[in-house]
Structure formats: C-alpha cells, structure tokens
C-alpha cells in the first residue's frame, strides 16, 4: 500500500519536475508595467489620460530654456505647464488605452539606440556624502542587477528543481524498496537511545529549522506559488509573518545547534567503520543484506549531523549579515550573503528531506528513537550493533542488581 502511494507521488513529482524545467526555460524575468499591484485593486493613474500626459511634457519643456543662454525679451515666454483645473480628471479627457506591458518596455528599450552616445557603461560610482550612515556615498552599484538575475534565475529555478528532485528520488526509492523493516521483527523490548535532554534539543533545533525552512521558502517561492491562491493582501500578511518568524527563530536554532555541537560532536567524529557502512549503503537496500556495524551514530547520521552543523553556521552567519545591514558586509557582501544563504538553505532542506524520510516513513522503528527516546532492541541491534553491544553489557549488569524487570 505504502509503495503504491509512493509510486503515485513519485509520478506526480516527476511531472512537476518536468514542469519546473519547462517554466525555467520559458519564464522571462523582464519587468513590465502593470499600473497596479498585481491582483489588487486598480489604482487611479492620472497620467493615463491625454491632458495629464500633455501637462507632463509641457512641464518638462519648461526645464529646457534655462539650459540655453535664456530667451531674448522678444521671444515669447514658454507657457506654464499647468493644465486647467479639472482637465486632469475631466471625463472628457480620453483615457489612453493601456498597452500590453511588454510592448511598452520594448519601446522604452529601443531608445537606447538614439541615446547610446550619451550613456556611460554601467560601473560602480562612489564618492562622499555628508549624510551619516552606510552606503550613502554610493551613487550606483550596477551589480544589483546581477544579484537579481542570479536570485530569480538559477537560484529560484535550480532550487525548485533540486527540492522537487530530491522528493521525487525519495518517493521512487520508497516505491521501489518499501519501508526498511526490522529484520528480526519487533522484540517488544526497548532500550533507551536518546535522553530527554537530547530529544528536547533535537526538537528545538528541528522545529526551528522546519519553520525557518518553510518561511524561507515562502520568501523565495511564495510570490509565484502561494500568492496567486491567497491574493496579495493575505499573502502579504503571510509573508510578513514569515519574515518576522524567520528572523526571530535564529535564536532557538543557534541555541539548538550550539547544544548539539557540545553534546554530540565527539560521538560524530568519523571512524574507519564509517567507510564500510557507507559502502554497504547501511544495509538498507535489500531485506536480506547484512547490516554493517555502527556505534551510537552511523555514517549516515554523522553526515547529517555535520551537514546540519556546518549548514546552520553558514545560514546563521549569512542571515545575520542581512539582518544587520552594513554591520560587516557592504552591498557586495550582502548580495553574496543572500545568494549563499539561499543556496545553503536549499541544499540543507534537501538533506533534511532525506533525514526526515529515513527517520519516519523510510525505516521501521527509527522514529521512536527521537520521539519516545526508547528503541526496540532488535532495531538497535541491527542498526547500531556496537552501541547496542556496549549498552547491553552495562544493562545486563544493571539488571542483575535490580529486581525490576525490563519492560
């Protein structure tokens, strides 16, 4: 049953993946005028009628004459540009039909040919400003446009492709392999795997990470994925809450990661056994495959651990750079920080997909470890044989002293 559902989900994901590739190839990032916040009430646009536009042109012409040496007294004075009162709003003034955005932009861009001799190549220009505060002295930083291209192009579409891809692979794996069973079946007896403190810290970290990931995804993809469904206002509220939560949850994530480093990192140092474990794929691939020996943390868990630690450090560092503009990063630094933040976060979300998969639906008996803290003895024996061996030695000794039977 699970495998059938997984197959259906996998097919859907593959189709979605294809659609993402299609979108990425056809989407044009060019901004076209909409005259309003898309999907919201239309704005009154005074420059939309002929009188308004005539007035603007006439007023602009007024800026001309002082450019020359000035008119001689014989020449007529330029007329003031102010149209008659009410002309701007007059119902008689015909509205100029709103042309399709793309045509307008093409028209604007076509001016380049006539103006090319007046233009300077885009370049960074900075000087001095009497205003206190960072970057006030920068006149232009053309690389802002490059950052925008990177974010809206490779990062957005690459990220979507990657996340859907990871999900699709996991679904395919589940449908092909099914859940990884406990070979000897449930023993009915459990051993304690994670202390309450460890579990609490895991869920602190995991909880904040999940919220951070979801809110981050809202910021990156929400405009295209959620906004059409919610409308601009509701989505605006969602995004505002997301942005607030995203910044607020830095603190719990940082605490969780710090505690993890303190409590787990020595157990996650790589050993020779890890290589062997990885070569055998952890014994997950087939029901009859032997499980390679592992201590309290196997190589897969160690990889997750270090990915989380390193990823979180990168994410917190780059996130803080954006939260406190110009504290240590300038324009370049913040643009780099945002790009790094997005890429690192997407990679980590993919890794956490795998982690969640194997910890829940992917493997029978795994979730108990971090939920109740107690795992089935057979699960422990199969996946963490060395740890289990060490545990049962001390446990047997304890049991002899105690009259209490183990549950």
């Amino acid at each position: 049953m699970v495998r059938v559902i997984a197959a259906i989900v996998a097919s859907a994901l593959v189709i979605l993946l294809g659609y993402t590739v299609y979108l990425g190839s056809v989407t044009d990032d060019l901004i076209v005028p909409t005259n309003e916040v898309a999907g919201r009430k239309a704005v009154d646009n005074p420059s939309n009628n002929a009188a308004g536009r005539q007035s603007i042109i006439a007023r602009t012409e007024l800026q001309r004459w002082r450019a020359a040496s000035g008119p001689s007294p014989e020449q007529p004075r330029p007329a003031a540009g102010r149209p008659a009162d009410g002309a701007l709003k007059s119902p008689d003034a015909p509205n100029i039909p709103y042309s399709e955005g793309r045509a307008v932009v093409n028209d604007w861009l076509s001016n380049r040919d006539g103006e090319s001799k007046m233009l300077r190549e885009p370049q960074n220009v900075s000087g001095r400003s009497s205003l206190p505060g960072p970057a006030k002295e920068t006149f232009v930083q053309p690389q802002g446009r490059q950052w925008r291209s990177a974010r809206n192009g490779p990062i957005a579409f690459g990220g979507a492709f990657y996340l859907i891809g990871v999900a699709a692979i996991l679904a395919v794996f589940l449908s092909v392999r099914g859940r990884v069973p406990i070979k000897e079946g449930l023993s009915g007896q459990t051993v304690s795997r994670f202390s309450a403190f460890e579990r609490a810290n895991h869920w602190l970290t995991a909880g904040s990470f999940i919220v951070l990931a979801l809110t981050g995804l809202v910021i990156l993809f929400g405009k295209d994925v959620i906004r059409p469904w919610l409308g601009p206002d509701l989505f605006g509220d969602l995004a505002e809450g997301s942005a607030w939560l995203h910044m607020a949850l830095v603190a719990p994530l940082a605490v969780g990661v710090a505690v993890m480093i303190a409590s787990w990192s020595w157990q996650n140092l790589p050993t020779a056994l890890d290589w062997k474990w990885l070569k055998q794929g952890g014994g997950f691939m087939r029901d009859n495959a032997p499980n390679p020996p592992a201590d309290r943390f196997n190589a897969g868990q160690k990889l997750i651990f270090w990915a989380v630690i390193l990823g979180s450090i990168v994410l917190i560092g780059t996130g803080l750079a954006m939260m406190f503009p110009f504290l240590w990063a300038g324009y370049d630094g913040m643009q780099l920080a945002q790009s790094t933040h997005a890429i690192a976060a997407l990679i980590m979300i993919g890794i956490i997909f795998g982690h969640i998969y194997i910890g829940t639906i992917g493997m029978v008996g795994a979730f108990d470890a971090i939920w109740s803290g107690n795992v089935d003895r057979n699960w422990a024996k199969e996946h963490h044989s060395i740890w289990y061996g060490r545990l049962s030695e001390t446990a047997d000794a304890d049991e002899q002293k105690s009259t209490q039977p183990a549950e």
Binding site: P73, R77, R128, S130, L131
Partner: protein, 583 residues
C-alpha cells in the same frame, strides 16, 4: 547687551566672548530660537529671551543681494508668545520714551508699526543709494505681476510693470512718482539713466594730486553733458540753467533743507501754496542772503558777500564741462584725509550752523534734497545725480593705498615676516589694536598647521536657526575639521576620528576629523555654523527646554584668534595657526 538676530559663535576668541557675556549687566536675545547666546554664558540671572516672529509672521520688504526688493505678506500671526520685530522695537522705544519720535511718520496698529510706513520712511531718507523709488505700492504691483517679467533680463514685458526691472533694484532714483525702473546692472552706460543706465559715481571729489577724477569722454546714452561732471547740487543745476525746471514744492523743500526748517508736510503742498511759502521764507532772509532779481534761490548775488558761498560756487564753476578746458590751476577738492575713518568724503562738508543761508542753499545736493527734485531734473537731462567720475585704484586715505601683501598675525611662514611685515600696533579712537606685537612672536613650532574657516551650504551664519530646521540639520550632523590626508596620516588620524584642535591663545575644541583633499597640505578648514558645545563641554542642558537645535557642535570661532582689519576693524576669522591631536 542686545543680540538681535545675531549669534555669538560668529565672533572669534570664544573664551573672551564667553567672559564678556558673563560680565554684562543685562543680556537680551531677540531671535526665533534662543541661539547660542542663551547657552554660552555661565550665568543664571539677567538673561532675557524675546521670541521674535519669523519672516512668515510679519509683512514687509526684503532686499536681496542683487539689490532688488520684494514685498512679503504675513502668512500667519506670530505664534505663541512671539512678536514681530517691529513690535519689539516699538515697545522698546516706548519703554525708553521715544516711541513718538521713532514712529512720527509711521502708523502704529496694535503696538505694531505698519510695514508699509516703515518702507516709506526708508524711502524718505535713502537718497544716496536710490532706495527712494521703491514704494510699497510699486513693490506690491511687481509681486502681483510677477508673471510679466522676463526671468533672464528681469525686465517687465507688459502690463503695468512694462519697462521696469523686477523688484526695482536700487538705485531706483527719485520719488516713486518718478517711476524710475530700477537699475539692473550698475554702471551700464548703454542705457539712459532714466531707464536704468548709470556712469561711475564721482565719489571722491573731482581731482586728486593733479589728476582729474571725472570721467573723460564716457557717459551714459542720452546724457546732455557729453563728458564727466561732478555730483549734482543746487549750484550745479543753476550753473547749467536747469534749476528753473524745479517745481515750487521742490524749491521750497530745497530752501527749507538749507534753512533747517524742512517738514515732510511740505512735500504735500500744492504748487501755489509752496510758491507762497517760498516767497515768505525768502522774504524773511536778509537782502544779502537772497537774490533780488528773480526770487529764485541762487548764488549770483551772494557770492560777493559770502566767502564760503563764493568758494562753493567757484568750485563748481571750475568743473562744469565748458569751463574745464580753460581751467589753469588744478585743485584738490577731494577732502582725502589720510585717516582710517572711511572712504573719504567729497565736498559734502557738514552744514555748520554758522554758515550763511545762501551758502547752505548752494550746497543742497542730490543726497540732501528731500524732495528728489535735483535727482529728477538731472535724470531728465540724462545725467546721473551722483556725477560721472572714474573709479580709483589708489585709495589714498587707506594705510595701504594700493593693497600689499602682509603676513597674517599668526603665520607659519616666519621667513616672509620681515619682508611682508604687518602694521605697527596702533590706536584708533579709543581702541588700541595689536599687530606687530603679536606677529613678532613665533607660534609656528607648537602650532604648525594653518587654520581657516568658512561656510557650509546647509547652514547660515551662527546656524542656530538652520540647525533647528530638521530638513537642513539632517544633512550636516557633525562638526568637522577638514585635514589633508597626508597630515592626517602623519598624525595617525583616520577619517571620522575625534580630534582636539588647539590654537595659540589657549582655546581648544573637540571635532571630528575629515580626511580630504579639499584642503591643501598643512591647512585645516572648519565650518563656523556650529554651536552648543564649548571646549568639549556639552551645553545642551543649558538651552531652554525643547529648544536645543537638532545638531550641536563646537563653534569654530571658539578657537579663532586675535586680529582686526586695519580700516574696518573686522575680526580675523580666516587665518590662524593650530595643532591637532587625537581625542
């Protein structure tokens, strides 16, 4: 001591200013904002702040540096306890008991002198600079028809302002009835005087050391005297035969000015009444003092009897254009006293009481004729009332008739001191002024950098008002000293570091260093608009509550040192020496 729209941080020698402010019995500050005057002195008593309204809270004329006037209307009544400047000065006068004299010709409404009358009072007296034709009515007309002026040439193109220059830039000769259009460019000889043209003023007499000071062969278009001429007096008019063009009112005014009995009401008499009063006046004078022939005041019969009148008449006789060619002996009629008192007056001696009426009458001139008749007649003949003279490059009554370089009192170039020495210490009026006794001391070893001060575009003067303006204050939020990057590097100072800046008289201020190539190596520049900090001490709490400017900073003039101009006694705010160190 009364500060009226003036800031103490405009004065150099800050510690002395502070000590002075603490010593005066009474300190009165009339201003929009309390200004640094209220906060600088360490005193608790005897300080009065009189809140004055802004330009929006009273109407009146304003004159810009292009000499044009505009009429501004009151937008709102003075807010809170503020009063207009007019009302404050009127109440002062009343308290001191001369309000009737002050406002003799000015209507007072609700204790506030009427702005139009104030301008009329100015018009009545300011003949020398032609600040007489700009009546409030004419200015208001210009404001109403602003759109009819060409914005490049400033000339009115149509309507009631056609042919006038916007704002009637002075000189706007004669009375407002004369409708002089104002003078857009001084000394533009391509226009008749009546249309805003002018020659150069015959300001320093007609001759000096044998050189003719009148113009030669140069005169404005339309001038009936095609050469230089001295300033216009009644005597000149008579010599030219133009005095007959004066109206009876103008003659009466001239005669009463000479006589000392002038009353403004004379100007409103009818021609007939004026004529009768003139006859009456002349009849009262002795035979010697009046002319018998045509009852017109004039010198011809008096000259024989009055040596002074004779001399005055002769002076002008010598310098009328026709007689000039035949003149034999040059004469120095310029007073040209070699003192420091001012620009050297022309033959415009004070009318002493002892002088004969006829003599006085002859010397009534374009500046003292309160009817404007002399100006009117001169201009009607295409002549400038102030004569047609030459500019002078040799100012014989200055200590240096031609400017020479003199090293500043505090100079880093000791090698130049001997050759370009300053003046000896001197004493003028009651004021001893030090020069050499300061310059002879060498401060350059301890104070190696040149210090100068100047302006920022965002602030004005002492800056109390502009620093209290949110929009402006935001643009310059910190007092700074510009230091050349090489000097900054040598002193291990980075851009934005706080520094102490010391000057030879012992004052010091704490400012931010700005490392910039705006200044040369060895020079430090500071803007002078800041205040509210004094030698590192924050004075903010000494301002009345809620009146601290948005931006406070050290006043540059706190550290500026001694030095006064030899002619004007203007303080030296542009050159001294300093030392800077990191704070």
């Amino acid at each position: 001591m009364v500060f009226w729209g003036h800031a103490p941080n405009s004065h150099s020698r800050g510690p002395d200013v502070k000590a002075g402010l603490e010593k005066v019995d009474l300190l009165v500050i009339v201003d929009l904002v309390p200004t640094l005057s209220a906060a600088l002195a360490d005193r608790k008593n005897g300080v009065y702040l009189l809140p004055a309204g802004s330009t929006m809270e009273s109407s009146g004329s304003v004159t810009n540096s292009q000499r044009a006037l505009q009429w501004r209307e009151k937008v709102i009544e003075p807010l809170f306890e503020a009063k207009s400047d007019y009302e404050i000065i009127y109440r002062f006068a009343r308290k001191f008991g001369f309000d009737n004299e002050l406002c003799r010709h000015i209507a007072v409404e609700n204790d506030e002198p009427v702005a139009e009358d104030i301008l009329r009072e100015i018009n009545r007296g300011s003949w020398t600079i032609g600040y007489t034709g700009q009546s409030p009515e004419r200015l208001k007309l210009h404001m109403r028809h602003q759109d009819k002026f060409d914005s490049t040439t400033l000339l009115g193109m149509s309507g009631p302002v056609k042919g006038e220059y916007y704002g009637l830039p002075w000189p706007c000769w004669g009375t407002s009835k004369m409708k002089h259009p104002g003078t857009r460019s001084l000394w533009d000889q391509s226009l008749p005087v009546a249309e805003g043209g002018l020659p150069f003023r015959a300001r320093w007499g007609v001759e000096h050391d044998g050189s003719n000071l009148l113009a030669e062969g140069s005169y404005p278009v339309g001038s009936e005297i095609a050469d230089g001429y001295p300033e216009f007096t009644y005597a000149v008019l008579e010599k030219l035969g133009w005095h007959t063009e004066l109206t009876s009112v103008e003659r009466l005014a001239i005669a009463t000015v000479a006589d000392g009995s002038f009353e403004p009401s004379i100007l409103t008499l009818s021609e007939q009444a004026a004529h009768e009063r003139l006859e009456e006046l002349l009849a009262g004078k002795s035979v010697d003092e009046t002319r018998s022939t045509d009852r017109t005041p004039g010198p011809s019969s008096i000259e024989q009897n009055d040596p002074q009148a004779r001399q005055a008449a002769k002076t002008y006789e010598d310098y009328t254009p026709e007689s000039r060619e035949q003149k034999k002996e040059p004469k120095d009629t310029g007073t040209g006293k070699a003192d420091l008192g001012g620009g050297g007056e022309d033959g415009d001696q004070k009318m002493s009481d002892g002088e004969n009426f006829a003599g006085k009458l002859l010397r009534v001139n374009w500046k003292t004729d309160l009817s404007g008749g002399i100006q009117r007649v001169a201009i009607a003949h295409g002549c400038a009332p102030f004569g047609n003279g030459k500019a002078r490059a040799l100012v014989w009554n200055f200590p240096d008739p031609v400017p020479v370089h003199r090293e500043p009192l505090y100079t880093p170039r000791r090698d130049l001191v001997e050759k370009y020495r300053t003046y000896d210490d001197r004493r003028k009026y009651r004021l001893p002024t030090l020069y050499w006794s300061i310059q002879q001391q060498d401060f350059s070893r301890d104070y190696p950098l040149i210090l100068t001060t100047g302006r920022l575009v965002e602030y004005e003067g002492g800056g109390d008002e502009t620093r209290s303006n949110m929009w402006l204050a935001e643009l310059q939020q910190e007092m700074f000293a510009e230091v050349h990057p090489d000097d900054a590097r040598a002193l291990k100072i980075a851009d934005g570091d706080l520094i102490w800046l010391h000057t030879p008289e012992g004052a010091r201020i704490k400012v931010a260093a700005m490392s910039t190539r705006r200044v040369g190596r060895g020079t430090v520049f500071m803007p002078f608009h800041f205040g509210g900090l004094y030698q590192g001490r924050d004075l903010s709490e000494k301002y009345p509550q809620g009146t601290v400017p948005y931006v406070v900073g050290e006043a540059a003039n706190t550290v500026m040192t001694y030095g006064y101009d030899v002619v004007t006694f203007m303080q030296e705010t542009k050159g001294t020496l300093c030392r800077i160190e990191r704070a």
